[in-house]
Amino acid sequence: MKRLTISPPLAAVLLAIVLFLLSGFLPNGFGGNLDVATAQAVNIVRLSVFLGIIAAGQTLVIISGGEGIDLSTGAVVTLTAILTYTIVNGRNEQVLPALLAVLAVGGLIGLVNGAGIAFLAISPLVMTLGMAGVVSGLILVITQGNVSGAVAPIMTQLIARPVLLGIPGAILIWAVFAAFMWLLLERTAFGKNLFAIGANRTAARLSGVNVTGMVIGTYMLSGMLAGLGGFLVVGNTGVVHIRIGDPFLFPSIAAVAVGGTLLTGGKGSYFGTMAGALVLTLVTSLLTTMQMQESVRRMVLGATLLAMIAIYGRQRGFRQ
């Protein structure tokens, strides 16, 4: 059935490029102006960074198989964004402690997810869904409805502004991050074992892989990466509200799917997810440029996702 000679991540990148070029022909598009085009391209990539990094944890969890999914991502992003905002409170020297704190908090939430899934055999969908509720509740408890704080100047400078050759810091961070993710997935025993448990948990266990530990570790990492996402999101926007992470949840799953990672686990890449994040961000911003209503934007996004999974997400049939 799989006769595609082109790999899904590449397909997603090509789709992103085609969409971008088409966007030039829009009435308010860049037309033939190269400078404007470059600026717009850079901006799209910059906007994709946040979804891209938040979707990284989702990628790991989905690769780990066992119907893996992390629905607590959105709530964790919100919580950690708020924590960053409050801890930093405008002071540069508080940035590092804040980063460590959000990683710890995200990791802790992921740890609970992983423990529930691995030890109590709760399905990932249900466990992380419940956890999303708990974290949302926690946010209300902590904020009591109002958040006070501020981001530090250094964060704005490093994340939102151009740092090198006019390239915004966020993009550089993403590049380094991508290298780290590649290293993790392709050049560590953890990454190899992750693919192994995603492909076949029984075979992995009988080959000496500690499946329980891997599952817990993966959900923990997912929580930490969502925490990093929250930190970056607030660094970019400079303001925070108690729903700031929600819009990232479902796109984070969609980006993984569009990037060609097998939703049943065992196969996929972070590059695919990056391409998926690009496509989704591009489609969204294209529709915004076209001054489409929110309603049409959602429908087009849904249809795009449906089309992408229909192309390479089919399951096997019963009859051979």
């Binding site: 050049r187 560590t188 693919f195 192994a196």
Partner: protein
């Protein structure tokens, strides 16, 4: 008069594997046809073509002389062809009665299921095997609560409940005990008398000789012979099935019991118990090839898994004189123990991953950080070359390999770690003859180099040919030990069936 069913020149290819090339058979009403062939000869594929599960690429089926085409198992069943599947077709969550009558539930007026009639009919069917089943097995027992033999019987009852014109029994006796098999054979006699045609697929020659009227032999997807059972002998049939192995491809010099006794004891087990095992004690010596025999499903799998830390157990175990109690395969692995599991696709391989990654799963931690991929690739390539794995490249998915080559990968991943104790659970199942021979040479060499091997095999010839000693298991216990002159196929078969032979423990 045309035969009830005639199969003419059927061919079927799965991807790169040509499962059937040219298969034909005839079966008449009121007779039992034995469909025989070595593992991987295409018996199961042929039966699936007949019952509509698999669509053939070529060839035709003639029912009462008329060409038919079954687009689904349902269509075949409507035509009166019913199958006892080898891979069970029961839904675990449904009850015995619900499973047997699925799609054919008796209905009351108004379309509701008549559960009383359903239960009564189920009880009638269960009574066919009365005396060989647990007393608490009722029509309302959920299938997930049944033992393997009970599931198999429910499967048989489900197939016969349609009053088929043709009944296919595909390895239906594999998990039954001898009483249940004898009862089944009595029933087959009755069904034959009522005019039912039966295709009987089995590996057990004694059963075939007992029950079949005629035979049809498949070899490598081709029908190579057919005729009446009266006019043939078991050895003729074996020659037809596998001419190149007649006489035995296994040639390993057995260590004498005395010589073994002088060697160091590698593994000693006392009173090992799991949910299946009921107190197993044994010891294995360095460089010994210990065979585990017996009918399928007598606890062989659990024994190997327990040693490997794959299932929880109680009892005592010492490895190289030191007490051990592995609770995870990783611990066993770190002590130099390796397991080639029985279900290759389900337990041995990461089908969607590459050959390279399959070979390296247990060993990644030895390659540092970042992983030294060049060295890992060299090691994998070396082991693949040593085992002569026929593959496109190390990066090809392991699912692209044939059964024999895929098994080499499973073994190869352990050889990379130089295990001291190698556990093998029916490793040559579905492996072609040439690869089997390579495999026998490999095991021989490993033992010479001092590796200790514990081998369970469903192939009696293989077990006798390779082992220094064979422990026969029955119902979670070791029922007898065969060594030296007592180590013969006849004794093994007798011991498997519970007839005492050899040296009783």
């Amino acid at each position: 008069m045309p035969p009830l069913l005639a199969v003419r020149n059927v061919a079927k290819r799965y991807g790169a594997v040509q499962a059937l090339i040219d298969a034909s058979l005839d079966v008449d009403a009121g007779e039992t046809l034995a469909l025989i062939g070595a593992n991987g000869s295409g018996k199961s594929t042929l039966s699936k073509v007949i019952n509509g599960v698999v669509a053939p690429d070529r060839g035709q089926l003639l029912l009462d002389g008329r060409a038919v085409r079954f687009d689904s198992p349902h269509a075949a069943k409507d035509a009166g062809i019913s199958t006892v599947f080898q891979e069970l077709s029961l839904v675990p969550q449904l009850t015995v009665a619900e499973n047997i009558w699925l799609t054919r539930e008796p209905l009351r007026r108004g379309g509701l299921i008549d559960r009383r009639t359903e239960r009564r009919r189920t009880e009638e069917l269960l009574s066919l095997f009365a005396g060989t089943l647990r007393a608490d097995l009722t029509p309302d027992t959920p299938v997930f609560a049944l033992l393997p033999d009970e599931r198999q019987i429910v499967e048989i009852l489900k197939a016969i409940s349609v009053n088929p014109r043709l009944l296919i029994l595909d390895e239906a006796t594999a998990s039954l005990d001898s009483r249940q098999v004898q009862r089944l054979f009595e029933l087959i006699g009755q069904w034959k008398a009522q005019g039912t045609a039966i295709i009987f697929i089995s590996h057990r020659m004694t059963e075939i000789e007992q029950i079949a009227d005629r035979y049809s032999v498949l070899r490598n997807g081709q029908t190579v012979g057919a005729g009446s059972m009266k006019e043939t002998t078991a050895s003729d049939l074996v020659t037809l099935m596998a001419p190149e192995t007649a006489g035995g491809a296994v040639e390993r010099r057995r260590a004498s019991p005395d010589a073994l006794a002088t060697r160091r004891v590698v593994l000693q087990i006392e009173d090992l118990r799991t949910s299946v095992l009921r107190g197993v004690s044994m010891q294995v010596h360095e460089g010994e090839l210990l065979g585990i025999g017996g009918l399928k499903g007598q606890g062989q799998r659990d024994l190997l898994l327990a040693i490997f830390g794959g299932v929880p157990w109680s009892g005592r175990m010492t490895l190289d004189g030191k007490p051990v109690h592995f609770t995870h395969p990783r611990q066993a692995m770190n002590h130099g123990v390796a397991l080639v599991p029985g279900d290759r696709a389900g337990e041995g391989l990461l089908s969607i991953r590459s050959i390279l990654e399959n070979l390296l799963v247990p060993s990644w931690r030895n390659y540092g950080f970042p992983l030294r991929m060049k060295r890992a690739r060299q090691d994998a390539a070396a082991i693949a070359a040593r085992l002569e794995v026929k593959m496109a490249s190390l990066d090809a998915p392991v699912s692209s390999l044939s059964g024999g080559n895929a098994q080499k990968v499973v073994i190869g991943k352990w050889l990379l770690r130089n295990p001291r104790l190698l556990l093998l659970d029916d490793p040559t199942k579905g492996v072609d003859i040439a690869t089997k021979a390579e495999f026998y040479r490999l095991l021989t060499r490993l033992c010479e180099e001092g590796t200790t091997v514990i081998l369970y095999s469903s192939d009696d010839e293989e077990l006798i040919g390779l082992s220094d000693r064979v422990l026969v298991m029955h119902d979670g216990r070791i029922s007898s030990e065969l060594a030296g002159a007592a180590l013969t196929t006849a004794n093994l078969v007798a011991a498997s069936l519970g007839v005492s032979a050899g040296v009783a423990l």
